[in-house]
Amino acid sequence: MTFDHNAFLIIITGALIAISCGLLGTFLILRRMAMIGDAISHAVLPGIVLAFLFSQQREGIAVIIGAGVLGIIATLIIDYLSTKIKLQHDASIGVTFTWLFAIGIILITLFAGQIDLDQDCVLYGEIAYIPIDLWILPNGTIMGPRVLYVALINVILVIFFIMYLFKELKITSFDAEFASSIGISTGIINLSLMGMVSYTTVSSFEAVGAILVLALLVVPPATAYLLTSNLKRMILYTLIIGVFTSLIGYYVAYYINGSIAGAMAGVSGIFLLFAIIYSNFAKRIIIFSKA
């Protein structure tokens, strides 16, 4: 087993992204909105393209804001279609994100000359490049891998978000009507969660790609959901599973000489499989001992 500087950077970045996604994904799962993460991650594309056109920077705050705004717009359109127009909720999601994604694609092709946006990079990301993509200050000081900083800022903001709004997120996830009845604005809580999901997916895309972001949003929380019936423990397990997904995924990729993001997503699926086996097994034991 090798353990060098580069491996460390890749694993840490993967783990940080797994933590951000896992924290938000826990609440998406509990709100039966796992597919909203998928939808938002596609719907933000026009926001990215427009922000890029205006700011001429692929990295930076403009792209994050563009994506965040589109994520919230997507959420509002989905809400409007399902509650006011009375289209089925899943149909509303399907219509909204494909349409917004299509607009993004059209924008890219329209301004192809002006945009250096690699769609492959958005879809698959390239976590292996993390160590060579450095943040260099204007005076020439090398601060280390840029993406690591991006992931670090993201994880800090997500942790603050979850910590400070934990009670509101919990109550609106369990019983939105009751939450509204005591004066909590369920709409604003929902939109801020979706805003954070948009920000996190965009912030993580270039590092690990859309597929791994989506896997990390859904699979570790789903795994943890099967293992416990306590919300705080579910979050804790999600984080542990996320970190190990990054660690084991990296070495699997190393040994099979394959895609790191792919291996990480694959490992998270294997964790889920173990949880399914365990939770079924545990249930049978309970039934057996009661009989």
Partner: protein, 262 residues
Amino acid sequence: MIVKVTKPVLEIHDLTVSYGKNPILWNIDFSLPHGVLAGIIGPNGAGKSSLIKAIMGLLDVNSGYVRIFDSEMNAVRKKISYVPQRESVDWDFPASALDIVMMGTYHKLGLFKRPGKKEKELAIKCLEKVNMSNFQDRQISELSGGQQQRVFIARALAQEADIYFMDEPFAGVDISTENTIVELLKKMTKDGKTVIVVHHDIHSASRYFNWIIMLNLHLVASGPTDKVLTEELLQKTFGGKLALLSDVGDLIKQKGFDPLKN
């Protein structure tokens, strides 16, 4: 028959609510005195649940207004408790009975603040009041329907409100839970609380409530149980089916027709 009240705790004026394009409540206009245990009765689809949702501000209203303690709803929200239908939530949510009851204390905490020891003690006390202290750490999906309803009632108690709106608290619960809840509600109204309950069983309504609101899209009646619970008003409320049955009864009387003899 709509009994007007002086100094009402709840006053509803000309309330009309629609779902999509279909109006589900028409011109509802009534008031409630302090300290009653009121039952809202009416057939399925009469708009009973919608009425209390509209009062709580959970549904958009087309016209009319609601005043509680002579104020806007939002100004007195901390004094109002709402118990949704048990089926409206996912009981597989990872939480214990105590976790859910603690949610009843959230409205006093404000944004960013977390419940502490004081809130926990209150929640435990409220679980005791519904005879659920042995289940405080039990995962909510492992509770029976009756126990889940008791958890909801305990959460409402933890709100320490003055007015309680409960949507079908007796639906799908065992008889001992029903009795526990009724006793509790009667005690609450004795202590000066006002309780409004959506209820589907006409037979127990006269025993449980001292005020009845009869609803079938329109308001049919609102008043003290002994004045309002008449055959005529019940027929008006439940319309078709009951009316048909009593017509048959009248026919039998008139013609001396006895189905048992023929």
